[in-house]
């Protein structure tokens, strides 16, 4: 990395906060971001599963679609059912292209007369023109520049957050609320990217340091970097755009058929619906699966997956070591005849063929809040 490349990187509102907490800063999606803190990736990962972790996800794109026409307009570019989404609820969906590939995955939250959308940092430049074109004349697109996004994740997240925010412990998973944090107005959703209970807080940039500091001052909370964010989401079986999803991957191949409702399937009125319909009827040629390699050698993304003693039948798209499951885990795409749970495959890790088994995901049980 040269200095000129560094100069193009954007700084987060919490840049000084990360450095003050010993964050090791790396370039990611155009931003300088903490990959880890002094605790280290494995400890940060385990702490999030056992207690609570604070993640700065302000690099992600936040936007509003204002107006009555927003729902119908967004449904022209996503296969998710936004019409049936209740006010105060969030839903996972994706932007699809005309050939059924995934342009980005995103979360849509419905508010009175408007939608709140969070998109991937590295896809903002691709997504925004598509969204702007789809809503033109039907809704007003507002790109949010003055709010940071924090995630507080883990079994102690609700307890910690309730010391600063009222009435948030009974919020269901994937619901949203407007709540003050010690008097600071915030939008929060009960969601995240770790498989744990937790919240995402859209907060004024000017208050980001105060809120982040208040949260990490609790003994239960450690700041968590990108390294543990990746191991947590991999154990939870969640996709990373650019690795596990791209413009050639369909939602059906990606095993995300649950995200497309009966109404949207029948209407087939989203980009790439022909391919999705055909893959729902006849099954896709390949599918995203979980993989557990034997032994301790991690299989990284790009590792070719073989039939035992045979030809290449797929590729690993995310892989590494799972700190909570304490063994290597991976996900990747295999030809459909090799996608059944329990199927034995081999992973070409350097010079060796490592036996592996197609495995149900998540690798680590999800711990979402479903009501008391």
């Amino acid at each position: 990395m040269t200095d000129s490349e560094n100069q193009d990187l954007k700084s987060l509102a919490l840049d000084a906060f990360h450095r003050a907490h010993g964050g090791k800063m790396v370039p990611f999606a155009g931003y300088e971001m903490p990959i880890q803190y002094p605790a280290g990736i494995i400890e940060e990962h385990k702490h999030t599963r056992a207690s609570a972790g604070l993640f700065d996800v302000s690099h992600m794109g936040q936007l509003w679609l204002h107006g009555e026409g927003a729902v119908a307009a967004i449904e022209t570019i996503v296969p998710g059912d936004i019409q049936s989404l209740a006010v105060g609820r969030s839903r996972y969906t994706m932007l699809t292209n005309a050939s059924g590939g995934i342009i980005d995955d995103l979360i849509v939250t419905k508010w009175d007369n408007k939608l709140f959308i969070v998109v991937n940092a590295a896809r903002k430049d691709v997504d925004l023109p598509i969204i702007a074109a789809a809503v033109e004349g039907k809704a007003e697109l507002e790109i949010v520049e003055d709010r940071a996004l924090l995630a507080l994740q883990g079994p102690k997240a609700a307890d910690v957050l309730s010391r600063h925010m009222a009435d948030i412990t009974e919020m269901p998973f994937m619901s949203a609320a407007k709540v003050d944090f010690d008097g600071i107005p915030c939008h929060i959703t009960r969601s995240g990217y770790t498989g744990e209970d937790g919240y995402e807080l859209s907060i004024p940039v000017k208050d980001a340091v105060a809120i982040a500091t208040a949260l990490v001052n609790h003994d239960e909370v450690l700041p968590i970097g990108l390294g543990a964010r990746d191991t947590l989401r991999l154990e939870a079986g969640l996709c990373l755009y650019g690795n596990d999803l791209d413009e050639t991957t369909s939602p059906i191949e990606a095993d995300l058929r649950w995200s497309i409702s009966k109404r949207r399937r029948e209407a087939a009125d989203f980009p790439g619906a022909d391919r999705v319909t055909a893959e729902l009827a006849n099954q896709p040629s390949r599918k995203r699966v979980g993989l557990v390699p034997e032994g301790r050698a991690p299989a990284r993304d790009g590792t070719v997956i073989h039939a035992p003693g045979g030809d290449g039948i797929g590729i690993v798209t995310s892989g590494g070591f799972g700190p909570s499951v304490e063994h290597p885990i991976a996900m990747g795409y295999v030809s459909i005849d090799m996608a059944e749970e329990g199927t034995k495959v081999e992973l070409a890790v350097r010079k060796k063929m490592v036996p592996a088994t197609v495995t149900k995901m998540p690798f680590h049980p999800q711990n979402y809040y479903r009501g008391s």
Binding site: I41, T231, R296, P298, R300
Partner: protein, 125 residues
């Protein structure tokens, strides 16, 4: 016994014609906690500068290049079950393999401890 260091952040402790090889404390600190060490086979012939083994952190796999040429006589099998020994004791208990040195002249290209410390200082600046 003399210990020498490479610019790739490996060390070799030489006793007679046998060298014990590992990565330096600086290297383990840069890598972070190791989750896997792929050791060479006992009896394998290494050429200086070629890949000898692989150490993997949560983040990535990194090759360890042969610090000198020779035949592998022993590997640190304890690392198969506890790769973090390299983090805890990179320059002692976390050794990787032992090699029967085939060309002692290769060692002349390596740094002594003082020169290696100088290199680390330069990298720090």
């Amino acid at each position: 016994m003399t210990t020498k260091f490479s610019k790739d952040h490996e060390w070799i402790a030489v006793e007679g014609d046998i060298g014990t090889v590992g990565i330096t404390n600086h290297a383990q600190d840069q890598l972070g906690e190791l989750v896997y060490v792929e050791l060479p086979e006992v009896g394998a012939t290494l050429e200086m500068g070629e890949e000898a083994c692989v150490v993997e952190s949560v983040k990535a796999a990194s090759e360890v290049y042969a610090i000198c040429s020779g035949e592998v006589t022993e590997v640190n099998e304890d690392l198969e079950d506890s790769p973090t020994t390299v983090n805890e004791s990179a320059e002692a208990d976390g050794w990787l393999y032992k090699v029967k040195i085939s060309d002692a002249a290769e060692l002349d290209e390596l740094m002594d401890a003082a020169a290696y410390q100088e290199l680390l200082k330069e990298l720090d600046e």
